[in-house]
């Protein structure tokens, strides 16, 4: 039982990084950003290339891990900012309906995935082993160092994000724009720069997720399709809410693992659907909906 909850949580931790990157953009532009999946695939490979071309032989172990993660985060930021420029900037100045952002993001996701397929897909790749593969036993559950690091790093990344959002001027600007663009402008905040910054943050998270996915699951172009888990989690969590996305992701992880134990893995997706349906009927605003309602 405890073991299963732990599995669920660590799976949820992976999902939550994705979901938060996803929710960040929703927070500002109010659409589900499916290009986030493309960013994850892209950065997973970028991190790998950085390892092969730059860091290999220079650093090892944890230092290598940090180097790769940082590179991926930077590449992710740049990619996401580029995506905003190519896919959404014009739509914003045209004040296009949200639906167009959505379509644009799906197309960009496919585009990135395809770029990887063209350049990197006649073989499998994987990251080097960053950590000792020893298991740690704790409270009757056993988990690997990599798992632990994933959990730790996800928490740290989310913590850093929350710090940025709630303790820095940039975060203040992001939250302000998310509430009302015009009023934010009156405060002297440039919405374009805030949107770019948001994409950069989201991209950095995408980069970190990408490395984790690559590290745990090896590299292949469709890696980023795991973005759908982020989508589910952030909708359950209450769209646009960062904490909601985290809770939604952890919940999704636990539910998935729990269902595998209960009904077997074959029926799991169908059961997840039914649970999701019932949940949305009972609580159409998602978990964090309470907070949203209180605001009104």
């Amino acid at each position: 039982m405890l073991q299963n909850i732990f599995f669920g949580l660590s799976l949820g931790a992976v999902y939550s990084l994705i979901a938060v990157g996803f929710a960040l953009v929703f927070n500002i532009l109010k659409f589900s950003n499916f290009s986030h999946g493309g960013v994850m695939s892209f950065t997973a490979y970028a991190g790998y290339l950085a390892y092969i071309w730059i860091f290999d032989g220079k650093v090892t172990g944890v230092a290598m891990f940090v180097a790769v993660v940082l590179t991926a985060a930077v590449v992710g930021s740049l990619t996401a900012v580029g995506i905003e420029r190519v896919g959404f900037r014009r739509l914003r100045s045209n004040q296009a309906p949200v639906i167009y952002y959505f379509i644009s993001s799906i197309t960009l996701g496919i585009l990135l995935e395809n770029i990887i397929t063209i350049f990197a897909s006649s073989n499998f790749y994987s990251y080097p082993v960053f950590f000792s593969s020893k298991n740690v036993d704790l409270l009757g559950t056993s988990f690997s160092v990599a798992d632990f690091v994933t959990l730790l790093f996800s928490t740290a990344a989310l913590g850093a994000l929350l710090f940025v959002l709630y303790r820095t001027k940039l975060g203040l600007a992001v939250r302000t724009v998310s509430f009302d663009v015009n009023t934010a402008t009156l405060m002297g905040i440039d919405p374009n720069r805030v949107v770019m910054a948001t994409f950069a943050l989201s991209g950095a998270l995408g980069g970190i997720s990408g490395v984790f996915l690559g590290m745990n699951y090896s590299l292949y172009p469709q890696l980023g399709q795991l973005v759908v888990k982020g989508f589910i989690a952030s909708v359950i969590g209450g769209l646009g809410s960062i904490t909601g996305a985290v809770i939604g992701a952890l919940l999704l992880g636990i539910i998935e693992v729990g269902l595998i134990g209960l009904v077997g893995s074959g029926w799991m997706p169908a059961c997840v659907f039914v649970i999701m349906l019932v949940f949305l009927l009972v609580r159409p605003r998602g978990i964090a909906g309470v907070i949203v309602q209180e605001k009104a």
Partner: protein
């Protein structure tokens, strides 16, 4: 509106201009592969292997003086795309034979068309339904150059059961993956016929990335061995997570455990005590030339699908020789007569009754602490 009409007209005209017309003295082989979909790694490997073969033949003056032209069409891993791509290769590019994909679903989808058009497809789609119809007749145009999933699964099952002495099996497979599913049923049937049993059967689907809950259930089931007939990227996750939860069972798998699998895992302790059956042996002399040519051209090691791609070209050319001409029906005729042809993956004999190879052995390997050890070719008694 005028612009749009112009656009539409232009779009309609382009395919007519782009007509592929086969040149005289040229043999056009179609290559139907997944270049951009979920199994693009496999499709790209087949393509590169085939390119190596074609390049080698053309460099030596072509096949009986005719240059070989390989035209590759992408299926996106999607059967509807595959149908379009296949008809294009045949009707438009005038391919006289097609190198099939290593994916059975696509084989199943194009079989009716290939039969109708009498264009042979030589593939590595292991689902026996691709090559043999429900009534027991062979699919006239479909040929397989590696063991079927039944043969393949039986080779693995037989080895695990008879050579290694395992009785109680656990299985973990991707329920949404046709390859994995097709490798499961015959395996179970073979094991159960021999008095063994499957004590735990767990599944996952394509979008799942965490199998620890399943592995944990398997852990408590008291199995001797774990059978994992899945794609490479899944195997990587499986062994890593098995180690994490302290599941120390030996494992048996298909050729997806072949290199670079162990190096992808990168953890010798996790890749321990794993047996698998592959199509080829690195030690066999016929391989070296292909491997070197491949490495020289693409600067990477070929994976097993690349050898199969190479062999598909070899077999088709052999069939042209045997059938007496380079037309679809002649090649089909020739393919039924393929006997004792040396391929990179073994000595091929195709049965005219099933269009499947007969008595093709596979090469057993063991991974010990991340190191591959070749055990040798194996074929169960019942296949001989």
């Amino acid at each position: 509106m005028r612009n749009q009409r112009f656009l539409a007209k232009t779009l309609l005209v382009i395919p007519l201009i782009w007509s592929g017309i086969a040149m005289a003295g040229e043999i056009v082989l179609g290559n139907l592969q997944d270049l951009s979909g979920p199994t693009s790694v496999l499709g790209n490997a087949v393509t590169r292997g085939a390119e190596v073969a074609v390049e080698k033949i053309n460099a030596a003056g072509g096949f009986k003086g005719d240059k070989i032209k390989l035209i590759t069409a992408d299926t996106k891993g999607n059967v509807q795309e595959a149908i379009k791509a296949f008809t294009r290769l045949v009707d438009h590019e005038k391919a006289i034979a097609v190198l099939g994909p290593p994916v059975s679903n696509i084989g199943l989808a194009i079989a009716p068309i290939a039969n109708e058009k009498k264009i042979p497809v030589v593939g590595s789609f292991i689902d026996p339904r691709v090559t043999v119809q429900e009534n027991g007749e062979p699919q006239p145009s479909m040929f397989l150059i590696q063991p079927t999933s039944v043969q393949y699964a039986e080779i693995i099952a037989s080895y695990a059961n008879e050579k290694l002495g395992y009785k109680k099996f656990a299985v973990l497979y991707d329920q949404s993956n046709a390859f994995a599913v097709s490798m499961l049923k015959p395996f179970k049937a073979y094991i159960e016929k021999r008095g063994g049993s499957v004590v735990a059967e767990e599944t996952y689907t394509k979008s799942d990335k965490d199998y620890r809950a399943q592995l944990n259930k398997i852990k408590g089931a008291g199995a001797d061995v774990l059978y994992i007939p899945n794609y490479t990227q899944d195997l990587v996750i499986t062994v890593k997570q098995a180690k994490q939860i302290g599941l120390n069972l030996p494992m048996v798998s298909g050729l997806d455990a072949a290199p670079p699998f162990a190096s992808l895992v990168g953890d010798p302790e996790a890749t321990n005590n794993i047996y698998f059956a592959n199509n080829f042996s690195d030690k066999e002399p016929q391989l070296a030339e292909v491997r070197n040519a491949y490495k020289a051209k693409f600067n990477e090691d070929p994976i097993n699908k690349a050898y199969l791609g190479y062999d598909k070209v070899t077999v088709i050319l052999k069939a042209i020789e045997l059938g007496g001409g380079a037309s679809g029906p002649q090649i089909i005729n020739g393919l039924s007569q393929v006997k004792d042809v040396q391929g990179t993956t073994g000595i091929l004999t195709l049965s005219p009754k099933t269009h499947q190879p007969v008595g093709l052995s596979m090469v057993m390997y063991k991974i010990d602490n991340g190191k591959y050890q070749e055990i040798g070719r194996y074929v169960p008694e019942s296949h001989k």
